[in-house]
Symmetry: C2
């Protein structure tokens, strides 16, 4: 069975690549697979690469925001990496609430960010 | 378009999660996507997580071996991580040639291995 979201464990963090279309039917599976893996592995952080998302509109922004909220409830932090400049512009223009999401330029900096967040929180 | 192989760039390395069935029709795309990304990004190493491969038999072992050979020709090293114990047993029993492939227990150790390999080679 191919998981809809490939997830790689990296120390205490999970590396997730989101790609393709995030539509109504896949979002539910994406949310379930990621949250179940966070719970199963007791992950401390989730690094989400969104550089291959075809479209980031208000719907996808909402999905990302919700995912960040779910992961936070499970006790882990979320770092988004690989955001295209056009996406950053869109998200700010949409006024999308990205409260639970941290962002970094690339995967290396994202992992460093996740580690810093839990060092600061003493986790 | 969903890529068949999600690839995340991590510094000078690429992180690849292989999953689902590797059959005749997908193998060609898998080989193309990985080799093109190695060339495009000038990657020095490829970390391949095979923990989610459903079946590793002599066919898949051959695919992995060939991929390692192609990546080597492009000037990069390959580290396999997440091999299930049953897979290790199968591969040894099959006598599968894994010449161009290095292996490590998990993604962190795999990345460390890739870095060590290029330090040793002065790349």
């Amino acid at each position: 069975m191919t998981d809809i979201v490939p997830i790689m464990r990296f120390g205490r963090d999970l590396l997730v690549t989101l790609q393709g279309d995030l539509d109504d039917t896949t979002v539910e599976r994406v949310e379930r697979e990621i949250t179940e893996e966070v719970a199963r592995t007791h992950a401390a952080g989730v690094l989400m690469d969104i550089s291959r998302l075809d479209i980031v509109d208000s719907f996808v922004a909402g999905v990302l925001g919700r995912l960040g909220g779910m992961i936070r409830l499970l006790g882990a932090d979320t770092a988004l990496v690989g955001m295209q400049p056009a996406v950053a512009i869109t998200l700010v223009e949409l006024g999308a609430p990205m409260g639970h999401l941290h962002t970094a330029l690339n995967a290396e900096q994202g992992l460093a960010l996740l580690r810093r967040l839990r060092d600061d929180a003493g986790r």
